[in-house]
């Protein structure tokens, strides 16, 4: 009886160790940030964007739309649709410090709510895109996409890290 209990503890410790390894691998795959320079991630994300759908915007537009100062961050890329009847937009931010993450997420949430108010009554398909927006925080990188191709853009961001 005693030896059975002992072997159970021994087996369990290896099983739990295996679970810890799996947990860490999953964290690395789906939650990790990256030491890759911003330019490399930016190039990979920009390369995946549809130029007919999205246009690069400057820091003034970023400030107007999201209330963020591009100079506060290590790097910012902001694309949005030129057309007023499209809600498509893509934002990539690399923050300098961890405590900048939450304010950026708050700004994104505010933008999302405001765009939803703009579109939900007369362009429900665009409102649907906003509702299904893709957002990801990986280390110091924050990614946000509203687009019919949001999944592709998110995948490009993930694989660029």
């Amino acid at each position: 009886m005693k030896s059975g209990k002992i072997s159970a503890a021994r087996v369990m410790k290896y099983i739990v160790l295996g679970l810890i390894v799996i947990f860490i691998v999953l964290m690395m795959l789906f939650m990790s940030g990256s030491s890759r320079p911003f330019e490399e991630v930016k190039d990979a994300v920009e390369g995946s964007l549809d130029p007919e759908e999205l246009t690069a915007q400057d820091s003034a537009r970023l400030k107007r739309d999201l209330g963020l100062n591009a100079a506060d961050y290590s790097g910012v890329v902001y694309y949005s649709a030129e057309s007023n009847i499209s809600a498509s937009e893509v934002l990539l931010v690399k923050v300098r410090r961890d405590d900048q993450i939450q304010p950026v997420l708050d700004a994104v949430e505010q933008r999302r709510e405001s765009r939803m108010n703009d579109f939900e009554d007369y362009l429900p398909e665009q409102a649907g895109l906003i509702a299904g927006a893709r957002q990801s925080v990986r280390g110091t990188y924050i990614f946000y996409a509203v687009s019919p191709k949001a999944d592709d853009y998110l995948a490009a961001f993930g694989s660029s890290l």
């Binding site: 209990k5 002992i6 503890a9 021994r10 369990m12 410790k13 739990v16 160790l17 679970l19 810890i20 947990f23 860490i24 964290m27 690395m28 939650m31 990790s32 940030g33 990256s34 030491s35 890759r36 961890d98 280390g139 110091t140 890290l161």
Partner: protein
């Protein structure tokens, strides 16, 4: 969730206390465990899984080590396995990026890596887990049969995030049986309020002054401003960490636990050696029990003893963070403590007390410069500024900071010795009857609590420095 947050003070804590005191004695540990997991998951919804897995791993390791009670060689292999795994997990989250950064800096490589955020409190709970494993191996404690009690030992929210590091042997009995009383609750509440005031009133204010000074380039710092900067940091880190420890000890008492104190007025020390007997006592005790003594301690040749001291201090530096400045800080203290032990310690003891205090003060303040600096180069430039190598000896900026914050510094100096609390006690003793003393105490502590909450509501600068370790 921070102790010094409205959510914790007015929602989490009252609810947990109410449920804890209502449920039967047997269910109290379960309530406290559930509250602790919720507390951790509030800030770390993903990493709570890692903590639970760490709990399970160490629980089974403890059982496994105990099963080899009659086979020392296998027990040794089993404990080594458990310790190595714990260190690998801690090392992975804490040092993996630092290691690759160092490789990239030293070698002509540019290895990219995936960064993971550091799980809050991992250094503290991993050291507690290793304490359990080693205590069971040394037969200083029996392996915990009840997995819920073991999980509570690792995850207990009062000391989970930033210590004190509770040794398993010290708390084993209390996990099974502890005294819960109104007197103890009252003592705990007073300790908690004291810690809250230390954090919100002094540490956060001193921290804001330090941040202001740290933003100034070292070349533009006068000696006065540089000294005010390091004083502000010294007060910030002391009141921040000892405040947290007071809150942890106070909360422990409110739930019936007795933890050993973590600070004993370190700034009144007369040497670096004494300072480390008074600062972060639980970490020093851990390293002494589980590293220094097993290495041979001081009962060995001088050269070996010096080696043992340097190993412990290098590890102490590394424990604080994955950066060269922390390692330099640890080595700095290792060298100073070796010197005090073998070179100038005896001479120092023969000097007037005031000289000893000044000596210890300079050593500790210079140490904080290494600690807060983002790089070794910055720390050397800052130290240069402290001796007038920046923007001269004094300037209007330094004078302005001193003029506008003299009350903060006065309060911080008084509170850094037993003098502050003895003043409060003397005032309370002016009242003769017990009832009057209790009433005055209640008014004083309620006043301190309200002031602390007022600071909390108006101040956004609120991080605990030791959360990142």
């Amino acid at each position: 969730m921070l102790f010094s947050s409205i959510t914790f003070l007015f929602m989490f804590l009252p609810v947990v206390l109410a449920v804890y005191y209502i449920v039967p004695y047997k269910a109290k540990n379960i309530v406290l465990l559930a509250a602790s997991l919720f507390f951790y998951a509030w800030g770390e919804p993903v990493y709570v899984v890692l903590m639970i897995l760490s709990i399970l791993f160490n629980y089974f390791c403890g059982r496994d080590i105990h099963s080899y009670a009659d086979d020392p060689a296998r027990a040794k292999r089993s404990v080594a396995f458990a310790v190595v795994v714990n260190l690998l997990i801690l090392g992975f989250f804490k040092y993996y990026g630092f290691l690759l950064d160092t490789v990239n800096a030293v070698l002509p490589t540019d290895i990219p890596y995936r960064e993971l955020p550091l799980p809050v409190g991992i250094s503290f709970y991993t050291f507690q887990a290793m304490s359990y494993i080693l205590d069971v191996y040394r037969k200083n404690a029996k392996p915990q049969k009840n997995i819920l009690n073991f999980a509570l030992y690792i995850s207990m929210f009062p000391q989970l995030i930033a210590g004190p590091i509770v040794r398993y042997a010290d708390i084993e009995e209390q996990l099974r049986r502890r005294k819960i009383s109104a007197v103890k609750f009252g003592q705990g509440a007073m300790l908690f309020i004291t810690g809250l005031a230390k954090k919100t009133v002094i540490a956060n204010t001193a921290g804001a002054v330090f941040e202001e000074i740290a933003d100034i380039p070292t070349g533009s710092l006068s000696a006065l401003t540089a000294w005010l900067g390091v004083f502000s940091y010294a007060f910030q880190i002391y009141y921040d960490f000892s405040g947290y420890s007071d809150m942890a000890l106070g909360l422990g008492k409110m739930f019936g636990f007795e933890f050993r104190k973590n600070f004993d007025y370190p700034y009144i020390s007369r040497s670096a050696t004494e300072f480390w007997r008074r600062w972060h006592i639980s970490l020093g005790t851990w390293f002494r029990e589980y590293v220094y003594i097993p290495l041979g301690g001081s009962r060995c040749a001088v050269s070996r003893n010096i080696f043992n001291i340097m190993v412990v201090w290098m590890l102490t530096g590394m424990w604080h963070g994955a950066a060269w400045n922390f390692i330099a800080w640890g080595v700095y203290y290792g060298i100073i403590i070796v010197m005090e032990k073998y070179v100038w310690g005896a001479s120092l003891e023969n000097m007037p007390g005031i000289v000893q205090h000044i000596y210890a003060g300079v050593i500790v303040l210079a140490g904080w410069v290494f600690f807060f600096s983002p790089s070794l180069g910055y720390s050397l430039r800052y130290l240069l500024a402290m001796v007038g190598g920046g923007a001269g000896l004094a300037d209007a900026q330094g004078a302005f900071i001193l003029y506008t914050h003299w009350l903060l510094y006065l309060l911080a100096v008084v509170g850094a010795s037993a003098f502050g609390i003895s003043l409060v006690r003397r005032f309370i003793r002016l009242f003769r009857s017990t009832a009057a003393r209790m009433a005055v105490s209640s008014v004083i502590y309620m006043g301190i609590f309200l002031i602390s909450v007022a600071f909390l509501v108006t101040d956004t600068f609120n991080p605990f420095l030791y959360f990142r370790f």
